[in-house]
Symmetry: C2
Amino acid sequence: MVVEKYHKMGVAKSRIRELFEYGMAQAKVVGKENVFDFSIGNPSVPAPEKVAEVVKELLEMDPIALHGYTPAGGCAEAREAIAADLSRRAKDQIRPENIFFTCGAAPAMTACMHALAVENAEFLLIAPYFSEYPAYCASTGAKCVVVPPDTENFQIRFDELEKRINRNTQAVIINSPNNPSGVIYFEETLRKLGEILTRKGEEIGHPIYVLSDEPYRELTYDGLDFPYVPNIYPNTVICYSYSKILSMPGERIGYVCVPDQCADSEALYAAIAGAARAIGHVCAPSLWQRVVARCTELRPDLETYDHNRVTLYTELTKMGFRCVKPQGAFYMMVEAPDGNSEGFSDRAKALNILTVPCDGFGCPGFSRFSTCVSPAMIQRSLPAFRKLAESYGLKGE
Amino acid sequence: MVVEKYHKMGVAKSRIRELFEYGMAQAKVVGKENVFDFSIGNPSVPAPEKVAEVVKELLEMDPIALHGYTPAGGCAEAREAIAADLSRRAKDQIRPENIFFTCGAAPAMTACMHALAVENAEFLLIAPYFSEYPAYCASTGAKCVVVPPDTENFQIRFDELEKRINRNTQAVIINSPNNPSGVIYFEETLRKLGEILTRKGEEIGHPIYVLSDEPYRELTYDGLDFPYVPNIYPNTVICYSYSKILSMPGERIGYVCVPDQCADSEALYAAIAGAARAIGHVCAPSLWQRVVARCTELRPDLETYDHNRVTLYTELTKMGFRCVKPQGAFYMMVEAPDGNSEGFSDRAKALNILTVPCDGFGCPGFSRFSTCVSPAMIQRSLPAFRKLAESYGLKGE
């Protein structure tokens, strides 16, 4: 007498966790230094020292104020700081009232999806997509419709997108820099997306929102930048998390931003607040609200991630693998030489290389390698990668 | 094109917040010391000093481990500590695998309710109930059925309860010590509840769970104690929060405990984990998981709350008000002399006494007074209460 879909989600060990546990066990057999775990997306760069300093500072505050309830949307200090920070990039100013703090990006996304899940609602996912979106969608009762991947440039297949829009389409979910591809949507891609959604929205008689899930926003390389999406398409809601930028994914702090220029912004903000409340949101952790308010200028130390990205891309490409060059985040996709990503991950696993097949990300044929690992592990893993390449008969340089 | 029920929940300013804002405005007119705000349930006793000490200790840890993702159910250290702590009270041992950490009791409750919300599911609420339960229920699609209050002893009207049980009944939600009544269910009450649910469960062919929402578990007075419910009725799931015991409601840390003896405990735990994931749970704040693991022996300083409780109860009773004597938590209910609790709260408000009518708690005719206030404020408020009593023609001592 429990809900079957939730039971399934609860017992289905995630592929990533399964690999992690396998890696732990295998380390005991072959030695920790001979297991090459590229499966997990836990930041490998420590939180900036300022984070601990700010926490210590805050502990001097009155504990009743520090640890007490904040308003549901966040304390004034935090909302003001984030609004001011976003306003530096936004054409139209962001007010504290546009910000709703959440326990990370996941509940930010689910609150938005619940708010928009009217009867027969559909959400469009653009493959490759973050593998948890279908689970979030399941809790809303809405339908989730997948736009197949552009496996050349990992932008958006607009013909396929347009075909899937109908009067039930409530939002398109984008995630850029992308997990798992590491690719950033070009400004041109966003502009085209905006044009189509504007036109289709007029056709169907209601706005189609973009839910922009941006936890990797500041993790970009080669001088690239992810644009501020509402500047390009007004009906954009931003979901953000401090997990990656401040290397504190366990602390659960993020927000939703509904800019004023977003269609029906007040009603949408209210519905998001109401949905959040109904699924158990009271406020985001109060200490962490105040920490991020005082750390808006911090940027992650990208050097290690960038170095890993370049090394792994260069070395694997040299061996004859087809790699998708990452421009952001800390993931790289590698194509299975025979198109079978499950088999590829299994074969890699036999060589103690742990990698996640992208079938669960809507992108079969590819596997995801996390580059948030130690540079030394990458170096140690290269002979195993060479064996993997040989096993497929790849001809490297 | 947003979901109407969530929009309503988002725009409906809570009565409590409205009163709070009125109080702030009124303070500017009549002076802060002349506004007597009994509306809010924010702990007025600071977090024990050990909390800050433990945070400082933990900041010495490797930040990647400290702030990183924990498993969805919580880190091993925290689950082990809580399991050991609960096992001291439980007839049957609690294992770390029975514990699922959440961002406070609210998402613990919603995850349980989602997990149990099969088609046509019904949840029984026993009035007076915590006013957010209907909102949680709304997000699951289940029906919430109210058992009217026992306005004499504030226990359970078993005749009314039994009438409302049918084959769709999935769980009875209890909250003891109770918000808003401050009353504790007697062990006898829980035993009788268990008997009925056992019998009815056999009749309808599936277990009826008790969801025991226990954030005030340790806030009890007069040597009373709230029993460990699974010792009395095995099909009990506990939802707990550290908000009140450690005076840190803003930090969002709590857990679900599904004991082994609970019917289908493994399936239920899995469904709760799956439901939590689907509504956006990733893990509970990792720093706070470790803090509570090291603070299981702490108990709140109840002296102030107890003093307030006794003063307010004694003084108001002397004035001729009918008060429900609180045995736990930090609330007291007062009956509106003319049975109109909205009118009573309005009349009190005109005297700058802020109190919440219990209509939203399923208990019209009563108003809730929070006793987590300063003792000095209670003293200052007494002349206003006397005027309130006079306005109803009450004859005090």
